[in-house]
Symmetry: D2
């Protein structure tokens, strides 16, 4: 069940010389979907970080499978689902479709990065889970 | 009078280390606004080029003045106006605001690029003007 | 053993509001590394595609683990290794370091995309393997 | 006379569906050239800002004329020259060529942005001029 949905208008500037979406853009849109979710539901990334005493809800890893090409002029519907919670990580799942046709499936694993002793490290995600649930 | 309007959700990934929109993104949004206009009104860039026998409605020059910073989470309203038509160029004017606050003013000068004798050159814009008016 | 190495100067514009590299850029650099390899060794992507009768050496999937943050002003050394060959795919492995510190590990799975009966599909990679070896 | 030069390898991912450099990238490269100059000569943007008590050496305006298309695989040589100093601004001029062929000419007008009374405004550029000369 999708937690949040973002429609992306695929434009000329997102496409490469082959006339299809240049693939790093899909990661930008996964990230944008996550941030739009935070803004719509939890006051946005900056406010949430302040509340959690965190520097950022940053990336530990990311991956994607490109199922069919996205084209200029199409509307990509990105659906976001909460995946598995670890002790220091949260997996977020994405599914992007154009009029029902599967274009991309991907995952982001994110941590709650905190500063301690001048170093940045992934902290406990329990406080984040309390906020966003799942 | 505005010919077309595009709302852009400013997201985390558009911002630089100073926490404000990284300026080349404004040019991406001006370009996106133009392409969204073509899609909404004239079948899109590819179809229009085919109709005009053109390779692209490309850039001759572009400029922008940055009046106030755009921030993560804000909605930038980009308004597009047709500026002056030359014999081989069209000026398109843009004005970007956030809740009425002026963020950016810019211009694109575009040509109708055609291929002739193996070279790309700016062709007559009269056929484009017939299509989009102004 | 690394097949190709690309040094990337991390600049202000690659970094996000947290002052570290915005993660989709790592995928852009993996892709750039692959294309620089093709240019340096095999005449470039366009010439190689022509030789193989292909539309592109495109992506089937991609993933990355972010081991430590990349910072403005650092030089990221991207090393590229050929991974496993399938019948219709090639895995390319990447490892990015800054002065020996591991920043990113990633993989791209690429196919040789050909057009047949008006559809794009992944073709046999054997002809590509003959060219680039491994 | 050029103050600083940056060579940019134009790659597949910089190009649009027309197979030429997507124009906002030229602004990214102008910005990168300026930041590379600061890093090579003056300790980098962050250190220089700290020294000047500034938030950033940000943009007031930018413009470019696109003289010929840049193509995948080409090396764009960006030359940077100091233009005119105002009281609260500095113009930086750029000229990008590929093997002597003019590709782009552009300008950035930058200010020394400082924070005062919770607002960001362009401050006096005299202290910057003392550092970088010209």
């Amino acid at each position: 069940m999708s937690l949040f949905t973002l429609d992306v208008d695929i434009s000329f500037g997102h496409c490469d010389a082959a006339g299809i979406v240049y693939y790093p853009n899909y990661f930008r849109w996964m990230d944008r979907c996550f941030h739009s979710f935070l803004k719509a539901r939890h006051g946005g990334h900056a406010a949430l970080c302040q509340r959690l005493g965190a520097r950022g809800l940053g990336l530990i890893s990311a991956d994607a499978r490109f199922r069919s090409p996205g084209l200029d002029g199409e509307v990509l519907r990105m659906e976001m689902m909460l995946g598995e919670w670890g002790r220091k990580s949260l997996r977020v799942d994405y599914r992007g479709t154009v009029e029902g046709r599967l274009v991309i499936e991907g995952e982001e694993v994110r941590g709650v990065f905190v500063e301690a002793d001048g170093r940045i490290r992934a902290g406990d995600v329990a406080p984040l889970r309390e906020v966003i649930g799942g």
